[in-house]
């Protein structure tokens, strides 16, 4: 049985905001299946009572002095924007037609 289906890949692509072509779905389904089948070996390790590690360093509650520092100027922040209008980032519509 395969670990992942073509339909699941299409679902993942939607979640990840990737407008995959139809032709890509089969290719990725096959490759992701091979990879997932391989990495699933981690389940062979008996680790029920083992604490998870999310980060290699035991640093917690890292703070620094609350000192004001200069940030980017508006010009610098907008310089690389794909679209600018009235000194702001211009973005495509964020609401569906029904909501407008």
């Amino acid at each position: 049985m395969s670990a992942i289906t073509r339909g699941e890949v299409a679902h993942l692509a939607r979640l990840a905001r990737l407008a995959l072509e139809e032709s890509e779905l089969d290719h990725y389904a096959e490759q992701l299946d091979v990879i997932l089948t391989s990495v699933a070996r981690v389940s062979e390790v008996a680790a029920d009572d083992i604490p998870p590690t999310s980060h290699p360093l035991p640093l917690v509650n890292v703070m620094r002095e609350d000192v004001a520092r200069p940030g980017l100027t508006r010009e610098a922040a907008l310089a690389a924007a794909p679209a600018v209008e009235d000194d702001r980032f211009r973005v495509p519509r964020i609401l569906d037609g029904d909501d407008e």
Partner: protein
């Protein structure tokens, strides 16, 4: 400085160049121009660079020269050229991460590593090629075409930092910066006959390093000698309040350790799980010979077992994609980079999806989808959660091994450089290149790769990996420079000098 050196500036070590510049035997401008000339002569074939900052480099070099002329005290790498991996933000200079989605982006700020290089008066020549967002082991996943291995232009230079390693191996720069998430400094070093170090996680600031997997990423030096790596490591390392994972304690003196170059009385562990099946015969042969050299130099060699390392690759390819799918969500086409399909009708979601489809390459899409899968409800415990527990067990394997040994050693990569195109559409085969380097990233400790000879069957470089505990980076340099010195005595030169002329 001898006249031989003047005619051959590109073949000198960074330490030698810095000394010659400090003593006024040669100017930084001359050294920088020699390297720019070399880039112009060979980089159409090597393709180590994505961008060469000729004006910026010459201006920086002239500034060093005039400060020296004014009698200022300069640092140990002042005036020496360096190649910077294109994953580090450098103000005003294009930074693409090897991706179309960032084509033409010029960062409005410097990464801490770049700030420290500038403060050390290092001359930054330009930005080096890499697998897109550092995902890959061959540099073939760059959107701008692959880098070629200077030892054989039909072969891969390793990845993701193939550009940085190739720049150093091709004498286009004596120093380069790489980043290592699963082996991206060490594996390219191994297959190009150069030196690469992944510092202890938190030893070098990640501020301004475009994140792949935040709990694994670490920048470090790529050089031709162990001493040059130590000098560069010392220049870029140390605490940075802008990175909350930066280690606040003082870092060990890696330069003194490289000078010490003494393994007498050290216990060196051979990791049983990092050999055997999948390792090329010539790689194992050169590795074993190098271990004998270490024994001959007075180290005690013992075998150790780290049984959970067999599961490191699986844990890594769950943890890395999970972190990467989250980190790369920032590339949404709204504030910087590419935007596709913004026709005034389409919604922001549609524009994001079209932008990411057009801007990301195949490997990036694969890993984003893998991570999205591993983090999905219903799979989280079995995949990401279990991988995090395996990560704990890998740390415990290291702890047990370092209770018996000062350092561990293994081959850096299971094979020598393979042919371009050979594994590019076989992700699992590509992932296996990092089988020996990944455990260190998961545990957060440090490791070095250095060249130990050419494999008899293909005459290509073999790397030996030295692994040390977290914050014991000095041991890498102590062992690495001792081994480098002994091999250099035997060969009469550094291995890189056997590379064919380009």
């Amino acid at each position: 400085m001898s006249s031989a050196m003047e005619s051959d500036l590109i073949h000198q070590s960074a330490a030698t160049l810095a000394q010659a510049i400090a003593e006024g035997e040669v100017s930084s401008r001359e050294v920088t121009q020699a390297h720019l000339d070399r880039i112009a002569a060979v980089d159409d074939r090597v393709h180590a660079f994505l961008y060469v900052d000729t004006e910026g480099a010459l201006a920086a070099a002239e500034a060093v020269d005039s400060r020296r002329a004014a009698g200022e005290e300069l640092g140990p790498l002042a005036g020496v050229p360096l190649a910077l991996k294109d994953v580090l933000a450098m103000k005003g200079v294009p930074t693409t991460c090897g991706s179309r989605i960032l084509e033409g982006w010029r960062p409005p700020y410097d990464a801490t590593v770049v700030e420290r290089l500038r403060a050390a008066d290092v001359v930054i020549l330009g930005k080096t090629n890499m697998d897109e967002f550092a995902m890959g082991s061959s540099t073939e996943h760059s959107a701008y075409g692959p880098t070629h291995n200077p030892w054989d232009l039909d072969r891969i230079p390793g990845g993701s930092g193939g550009g940085s390693a190739a720049a150093v191996a091709a004498f286009e720069a004596p120093l380069a910066i790489g980043t290592d998430t699963g082996g991206s400094i060490r594996q390219p070093a191994a297959v190009t006959g150069t030196v690469g170090v992944k510092p202890t996680y938190g030893g070098v600031s990640r501020f301004g390093l475009v994140a792949l997997a935040s709990s694994l990423d670490q920048a470090g030096p790529c050089t031709r000698t162990v001493m040059d790596a130590a000098l560069l490591h010392a220049a870029i390392g140390g605490h940075d309040p802008r990175d909350s994972t930066s280690i606040p304690d003082a870092m060990p003196d890696v330069v003194a350790a490289a000078q010490q170059a003494d393994v007498r009385g050290m216990r060196i562990g051979l990791v049983r799980e990092l050999s055997g099946e999948g390792y090329q015969a010539g790689v194992e042969q050169r590795f074993r010979e190098a271990v004998h050299v270490l024994e001959h130099l007075g180290a005690e060699v013992v075998e150790v077992s780290c049984p959970i390392f067999d599961y490191a690759l699986g844990a890594y390819y769950l943890i890395l994609p999970s972190e990467c799918s989250s980190n790369l969500a920032r590339f949404d086409g709204m504030r910087y980079g590419l935007r596709v399909g913004d026709d005034g009708e389409r919604s922001v979601e549609e524009v994001m999806s079209l932008t990411r489809e057009a801007g990301f390459g195949a490997e990036v899409k694969r890993r984003i989808m893998l991570g999205t899968y591993a983090l999905s409800s219903g799979y989280y415990d079995a995949y990401y959660g279990q991988a995090q527990k395996v990560r704990t067990l890998i740390q415990r394997d290291f702890d047990a091994a370092f209770a018996q040994c000062d350092v561990l050693v293994s081959p850096t990569a299971p094979t020598t450089a393979f042919k371009l195109g050979e594994k590019v559409d076989d992700p699992l085969a590509m992932y296996l290149n990092d089988v020996a380097t990944i455990p260190v990233n998961l545990a957060g400790n440090c490791a070095m790769s250095l060249p130990v000879g050419l494999a008899p069957e293909d005459s290509l470089p073999v790397g030996l990996q030295i692994m040390a505990p977290a914050m014991a980076d000095d041991r890498l340099y102590r062992v690495g420079s001792a081994l480098e010195g002994a091999l250099q005595d035997r060969w009469g030169h550094l291995l890189i000098e056997e590379a064919p002329a380009l």
